[in-house]
Amino acid sequence: MSQAVIQLLRQKFGAAIVETHAQFGDDTAVVESSKWLEIATFLKNDPACAFEMLSDLSAVDYPERTPRLEVVAHLYSLTKGHRVRIKTRVGDEEGEGAEIDTVVGLWGTANWLERECFDMFGVNFRGHPDLRRILMYPEFQGHPLRKDYPAEKAQPLVAYRTDEEAGMSIDKQAPFGPHEGMSFARNDWTKRAEDAN
């Protein structure tokens, strides 16, 4: 990780860098979503940064925050040997209108990673050449990694067989319900949202 890169970003972009931290030794910068592409381009092309590799791009859903979704990218420089994490926040309370620029033009990896992020969280990447679902099937409704998507919800393409069709009980639920084996610590985000209202 590299503190120098964060300093450089602060100098160059000033107010566009919302906050920075170095928790657990991982240097992080939270940036304005409108400057996402500009900052990414700088990080890739500036000789002092030289992040040739986009290690990872993903998102996190914070249902109690606005903007709700946080897009997280991890960059690595092979020549300099340093890493940095850049994040940006998008979307309203419902996660609608989450949109940022694509970085496919900078790193080839971004193509599939952004498709995955779109699939799982519903973040739209402006200018992506081929933004469609990658892990889920095209008929799938919703974005499974959002906290308010119920984990036990199923969307089968072919309807499940009913008891009548089978002529017997084919209840495959776990004997203690869908949450069997899950600890007390599990968070029920749908319930939390209902309680809050």
Partner: protein
């Protein structure tokens, strides 16, 4: 008898001018792993290809948000199911980085030896399966026999051949067995002997080499841009190995080399894997020499480690500790972390977000196979249909981690 081609000059043999669309997969006999390649063909040349993944998507990241931090271990076993130990260690290191825990020295060596054995089995599977898909069945059986030896060691140590769930936050589930070092050393030596033999079988086979050489060539710049890591990147000549560049565990105290290729073709990827098996054997030799025979393998930290079973049944404090750890889970400090290790296929990263409770807020895995498979389309374009099989085999796509 009349010549068969007499009728031919009467009409023109009309070949379709439009490209033909062919679906390879999701279940294709010559491709291991469920993946579908939709290829547009002109004759036998691939004009365009759309790689479709997701057939093994099981919602790994969603499942992790429902249990405790320790309940993630069985899930990471099933990511790369050919080398589950490397995933176990990778995830354990990520959580330990957040908790600020450093495991005892003996455990670090233990993790390294088990991890290198797992790496060997990963590479053996990839190279063996690749040979089999090109018609060389004998080396495949030899290599699978070698892999079985490694899994015997794993079974002896963990009780399970494949899904060990052996890692723990702050250590390992059990200390090494009495004969662990002998087992590991003997296995590593036998595996290298088998690799030598298989290599002779394959690399002196003209057909095998011809089908790999200069097939699926990728340049350094493209490989880096596509996020290739592990043997696929090293085959292009970039010596990026996290064990060397950002050493974790005790890799900085060990003498080993990072094999690199020159050409970035399928043969290089095959050879880099074979060379890495030999390097893994070197690491195991040195680690066995340095691992202590006595001492703790887990940290003595009641916040994360389960107490002794006898204490749980005998004292109220240990019973409460056990109950809290099982029902609520170990509390991990609030924050976010990205931890990365060198797995069989490359950089295996875990991006973890904790809200301070016993349940992970977000577990994001950076699966090396996902990026490698993402480059498949680039490698296939312009090649022949018969090249799909060796190129796909050399990327070692593991459905479990690629599809999350």
């Amino acid at each position: 008898m009349e010549s068969l081609d007499l009728e031919l000059d009467e009409g023109h043999l009309e070949l379709p001018a439009e490209p033909m669309r062919l679906m390879m997969g999701p279940s294709h006999p010559a491709m291991h792993g469920t993946v579908r390649c939709v290829v547009d063909l002109s004759g036998e040349t691939i004009l365009n290809v759309d790689v479709q993944i997701g057939y093994l998507h099981r919602g790994f990241e969603k499942m992790c948000e429902r249990g405790t931090w320790a309940q993630v271990f069985p899930y990471v076993d099933r990511l790369n199911y050919v080398s589950p130990m490397l995933n176990n260690v990778g995830y354990a290191l990520a959580v330990e980085k957040m908790c600020g825990i450093v495991v005892p020295e003996r455990c670090q060596w233990y993790r390294m030896i088990l991890g290198e054995l797992a790496r060997m089995s990963d590479h053996l599977t990839c190279d063996g399966a690749m040979a089999m898909e090109l018609g060389a069945f004998t080396p495949f059986l030899w290599m699978i026999k070698a892999r079985e030896m490694i899994w015997d060691v794993m079974e002896e140590e963990t009780g399970a051949r494949l899904t060990h769930s052996f890692g723990r936050i702050g250590g390992m589930a059990k200390p090494p067995t009495k004969h662990f070092k002998d087992l590991a050393l003997n296995t590593a030596r036998s595996v290298v002997a088998i690799v030598d033999e298989s290599e002779k079988m394959l690399l002196k086979n003209r057909i095998f080499v011809d089908r790999l050489e200069n097939v699926g060539v990728i340049s350094q710049a493209d490989a880096i841009s596509l996020g290739f890591t592990g043997p696929c990147l090293r085959a292009t000549g970039v010596a990026y190995d996290i064990r060397k560049t950002q050493p974790y565990l005790k890799y900085d105290e060990i003498d080993f080399e990072v094999p690199v290729g020159t050409n970035g073709d399928t043969l290089d990827r095959f050879l880099v894997r074979l060379a890495e098996i030999r390097q893994s054997a070197r690491i195991i030799e040195q680690a066995c020499a340095r691992m202590a025979d006595e001492g703790a393998v887990s940290v003595d930290d009641p916040r994360v480690m389960l107490p002794e079973k006898t204490a749980v049944y005998g004292t109220i404090e240990a019973t409460i500790q056990h109950f809290k750890l099982v029902m609520e889970g170990a509390k991990v400090p609030k924050g976010e972390v990205y931890s990365y290790t060198e797995a069989g296929n490359g950089e295996l990263g875990f991006y973890l977000v904790s809200d301070g409770s016993g349940t992970p807020f977000r577990v994001r895995i950076r699966p090396p196979s996902f990026m490698n498979t993402g480059g498949l389309g680039h490698l296939l374009k312009g090649r022949m249909i018969s090249d799909v099989v060796p190129i796909f085999g050399s990327l070692n796509m593991i459905g479990g981690e690629c599809d999350h």
